[in-house]
Symmetry: C2
């Protein structure tokens, strides 16, 4: 349903004079008067798809609900300002659960200076869900979109990838500050956050920009968690496979002009490791390129959760 | 849990330099730079609490999810601009259901010129829910809050009340245009929309403003649906009781200075009937006053749905 559904929505959702960027990017951009913009994103997380309440501190559910949205704003180089929280609670122990969820959410909100502006709390017969909507302002370096990559742009990723399910998906730090810093100091043509896997999210940037992406599999920054997952959990997948398609890394993929990439990769002030893994070229699709070898890659990203598919992606 | 939970949140949610109005009104108000503000509200509606999917066209679920939020903006005299949609779908027939829900939502969005800026669609093992977040701009007449009522302000309500469950709760027209018109042409000290029943929502304005509210029960505009509900459905409650506490009327309660109220009540251009039902006075609580008779009223509003309690209320 997912891709089809997004295409369907893109077709039926009408334009609007204030909607500068609508469906199909990490956040929407609304003209808010006086040259100002308002960026907005929403993501649902739920028990069963994004965590198992029986196995985690519910504070981590609250944290994650906000964090995935902050990551969407980071992918646009936006400054988070506020969030509103829709919380659905199972009847059993609802009040205690709500307090724990808010504790995790508020701790992260304080770290990122995000106002919790309001919300709706709904006790019901269904499982726990959280739908956080975040609002942000364009950062001083302007916003990034996913459709701006140019031929020869270097593909840069932050951090390391794979094995997020072992813990990072609950504890990751949205790359908000890093994105604001990079946008202010470097030319970046396009960006996305890795929610559904490096290959799948990279394919989205390539497709939106009308280009092909060539990557070196040897260059992929594989997280130690991907190795643990491969070794200890008997997934029958190599650490590299995990890094390519696990999803929920919440790192950034950037399209950076070559000379900018060179400077950026040497900059110790970014606050996170950066790795060049390939480049965008004319054409379409994803390609594995090492020297003269070139083979097509399938963007078989892990769509995390059960058919959980943000339609803005 | 509800009132307690709201008080708890009001206590634990920190201030924020951009948060001009936070928890405790129909919408939050954020300073958005250059003298601009951004109003934001969120409400959850779900199968079982707010409608029964087996009994209605799912388009009405989508319509209601947006309409209740537009009503929150109307209560602040704000101009709706955009909405984002978090949609949780049961697995069975998910795609068809999603299309119908969006059809109802988009029809109402078009009528109110609201951009659907994005969303997240989540197929899962729970019931259908919708958490719509709306964004609005202050109307040209400025915004209304619920804490600004003054002694001697006339209590004015729009439309007629009670029996919404017979159909209005799915078909009501949020009083957006009416509110914008009134805010631009009249001094209004406070406002709220009636989501949980006249008495309960009136009590909220009175409490927020530090006043008592005196009403004439004879003056309450009872909707014909309240009479039908009382007669045909054997609820053992009078039409007036329904009008006082049914909830989901989505009409407005306004606190209006006497001389303004006099003009307003004669204005044929408002677009909805207006009724003066009492006044705010020094003191606290709700009072039934007819001539020399004065008796305390309990704000036993119907909290619609199963413990469905918007925490901003």
């Amino acid at each position: 349903m997912e891709l089809d559904w997004i295409r369907y929505l893109a077709k039926i959702l009408p334009n609007h004079p204030r909607l500068a960027v609508g469906i199909g990017d990490d956040a929407a951009v609304l003209e808010w008067g006086s040259g100002n913009a308002c960026l907005v994103a929403v993501d649902i997380v739920s028990d069963g798809a994004d965590f198992h309440l029986g196995e985690i501190d519910p504070a981590l559910a609250g944290r994650k609900a906000l964090a995935v949205n902050l990551s969407d704003l980071a992918a646009m180089a936006a400054q988070p300002v506020a969030a509103v929280v829709a919380l659905g609670l199972p009847r059993r122990n609802a009040r205690n659960l709500a307090e724990r969820v808010y504790e995790g959410l508020l701790t992260l909100a304080a770290e990122y200076e995000v106002a919790i502006a309001g919300g709706d709390t709904h006790v019901w017969d269904g499982p726990l869900f959280l739908a956080v909507t975040v609002l942000g302002l364009p950062g001083p370096g302007g916003i990034w979109k996913r459709d701006g990559a140019k031929p020869n742009d270097v593909i840069v990723v932050t951090g390391s990838l794979g094995g997020s399910i072992l813990g990072k998906h609950l504890h990751f730090r949205p790359r908000v500050r890093e994105a604001l810093y990079l946008a202010q100091n470097y030319e970046v043509h396009a960006a996305i956050d890795i929610s559904d896997g490096l290959l799948l999210d990279l394919a989205r940037v390539a497709e939106a920009s009308g280009l092909a992406a060539e990557i070196s599999l040897q260059a992929i920054p594989v997280d130690p968690a991907a190795e643990r997952l491969s070794l200890e959990n008997g997934t029958n997948r190599s650490p590299l496979e995990h890094a390519l398609s696990d999803g929920e890394d919440y790192e950034l993929i950037l399209a950076v002009p070559p000379e900018e990439a060179e400077r950026m990769l040497k900059d110790p002030a970014v606050g996170v490791s950066l790795t060049a893994i390939g480049r965008f070229v004319e054409g379409e699709g994803l390609w594995h390129v090492e020297g003269n070898f070139r083979a097509r890659l399938e963007p078989a990203g892990y769509v995390h959760g059960n058919s959980h598919q943000p339609f803005g992606k």
